[in-house]
Amino acid sequence: MKILVGVKRVIDFNVRVQVKSDGSGVVKDGVKMSMNPFDEIAVEEALRIKEAGNAEEVIVATIGPKACQEQLRTALAMGADRAIHVQTDEEVQPLTGARIFKALADKEQPKIILLGKQAIDDDNNQTAQMLGALSHWPQATFASEVKIEGETATVIREVDAGLETLSVDLPAVISVDLRLNEPRYVKLPDIMKAKRKPLETMSIEDLGVEHVAEVKVLKTVAPAKRQAGIKVDSVAELVTALKEKGLI
């Protein structure tokens, strides 16, 4: 059984993101880039499934410019067996991303596709769901626990009301949440070995996918500064204050 894992290059979560002065996006030059933290958890989970004897191969894939290979190397150093780089310098929106993963799935025939529930750059939270729909595979999103038994996956997912347990037939798409696992530290000898693992490069066209951007970003602005709050002494005062502001 193969597992395909999505890995996205994003601005490191420690960076204080700055909006460009002309509003055309955020500053990425000279900024530290890393693997999307949710994807790191997805890679970790795939490795654990493999180490438990429930899969033979972990394939990591990314879509983006040449520099994304750094994140693939990190995933290989963590323990993935091989990597696929779908190279493009264009912005890739969720639907195109999902179509590309569908094409990769047709090619590689994995039993599980593990994706982050969202990427911390655009926070779209769409790719896994779209991929599930496009491939007509069952989907289990926001996984906080994954158990594989034969041809089924039991997934505990975090929902507003608490925890929900799903049983899905494989092949399936699973998107992972923060509490699923704690990704391992990568050992230096494994970092040194990562370079020798296979990394295949292809274009979006090679996969027969058309690159489309349905959503157009008009302008990027920084969120407004939060105003200082006020303290009230009683519920009555609170209700009055809320009414004055037209909030209730």
Partner: protein, 381 residues
């Protein structure tokens, strides 16, 4: 980090060490300061991750990276805000064990290297004596040949990892009839060898989680096979190893300085005073910007020296500059960073208070600034 010096492996190594230190060290290291030592489990965990064998042969579990790997380790350790923890590791990886790596024979490497790289055995280096520091050649500890053994007498001062370490590379005089620099030999001596004791544990101003001791040799018999490298060539081994030691101390200093500036930026951009935040004061902004520029320059000099080393080029002048410049700069940075923390900077619970104390040794240990500048000046004429 965009840099001409670092490749993908370097960057990954830096990411892993930084994460390890932020998660496994910084939240729990406060008690190590009180205990006066770093728990062995942490060192072994670092060993398992390959952080203790960055440069060493893969045959023994190392990763065969170049000098820039050591610089990354030192910088990231410096960023931990616990200088004592940082130096515990760095003495093991980059100040003591290079003696074995550079000059050990096959049998010695086979015997010790795997345990050093895995963190099972912690090592130290013993050169300084109560009466002799900068003037290495003048050391007094004697090793007299007796059959197939040597008998050591004397004591070694300020030895890092001295209390808890397992194995020491000890310099002693084996020939007093020649020029002082021509009669020194290095011995590998294990804790527990009869005649070798820890004289006393020393109380320090900073580096509190690092154990520092006086080591005493009283008719300590050491087999001749424990000699590292050639007999009477020890002075040159020490001088060679000083290069790496000074480079990593410079890197550690710049890691410490960078972290101090970040902590201070957090403080002055949130601390309210005079109708704004402290950072609104031009004098504060300007001073921090000036220090940040100097730290960046220091860091690039460290990288350059490490790069020269990685190319196999002579870099004694550059390394001496690194040690002199970075050792002084980190003190200047700590002084101002503590100043901008106001009264809080003087209180034990602030990291900057500890970092200020930890920094003081950087212009003395491993080569005092004045001694380093002498080395630079010799190469200027």
């Amino acid at each position: 980090m965009n840099s001409i010096y670092f490749n993908e492996e370097h960057t990954m190594l830096r990411d892993q060490i930084r994460r390890f230190i932020e998660q496994r060290v910084m939240p729990v290291a406060e008690p190590w300061e009180e205990a006066g030592s770093v728990p062995r489990e942490i060192l072994q965990e670092m060993g398992e991750l390959g952080f203790l064998g960055i440069r060493y042969s893969a045959e023994y579990g190392g990763s065969e990276m170049d000098a820039l790997g050591s610089v990354i380790l030192a910088e990231e350790l410096g960023r931990s805000t616990f200088g004592g923890f940082a130096v515990t590791v760095l003495v093991h990886t980059d100040m003591a064990s290079p003696h074995l790596d550079n000059f050990g024979n096959k049998a010695q490497l086979d015997k010790y290297m795997p345990d050093i790289i895995s963190g099972k055995k912690i090592v130290g280096v013993a050169v300084t004596e109560p009466d002799v520091g900068s003037d290495v050649a003048a050391m007094k500890t004697r090793a007299v040949k007796d059959g197939d053994h040597y008998v050591l007498n004397g004591s070694k001062m300020f030895i890092t990892n001295g209390v808890h370490g397992d194995l020491f590379f000890v310099a002693a005089k084996t020939d007093t009839s020649v020029k002082p620099s021509r009669g020194i030999t290095i011995f590998a001596i294990e804790k527990g060898t009869p005649g070798f004791t820890v004289g006393r544990k020393l109380d320090k101003m900073g580096w509190l989680s690092s154990d520092t001791a006086e080591l005493v040799f009283d008719n300590c018999r050491v087999p001749a096979e424990n000699i590292l490298g050639e007999e009477n060539k020890g002075f040159y081994s020490i001088m060679r190893n000083f290069q790496n030691e000074r480079m990593v101390l410079g890197a550690q200093s710049m890691g410490e300085a960078s972290k101090a500036l970040e902590l201070t930026m957090d403080y002055v951009t949130t601390r309210k005073a005079f109708g704004g935040v402290l950072f609104d004061k031009q004098v504060i902004r300007q001073r921090l910007a000036s220090l940040a520029s100097q730290v960046e320059a220091g860091r690039q000099l460290v990288y350059h020296a490490a790069w020269l080393d990685a190319q196999g080029l002579d870099c004694i002048k550059e390394v001496s500059m690194v040690k002199a410049y970075c050792g002084e700069l980190v003190n200047k940075v700590m002084y101002d960073c503590l100043q901008f923390h106001g009264g809080f900077g003087y209180i034990r619970e602030s990291a900057i208070e500890r970092m200020y104390r930890d920094a003081r040794i950087q212009s003395i240990g491993g080569g005092a600034t004045e001694v380093m500048l002498e080395e630079v000046s010799k190469r200027m004429i």
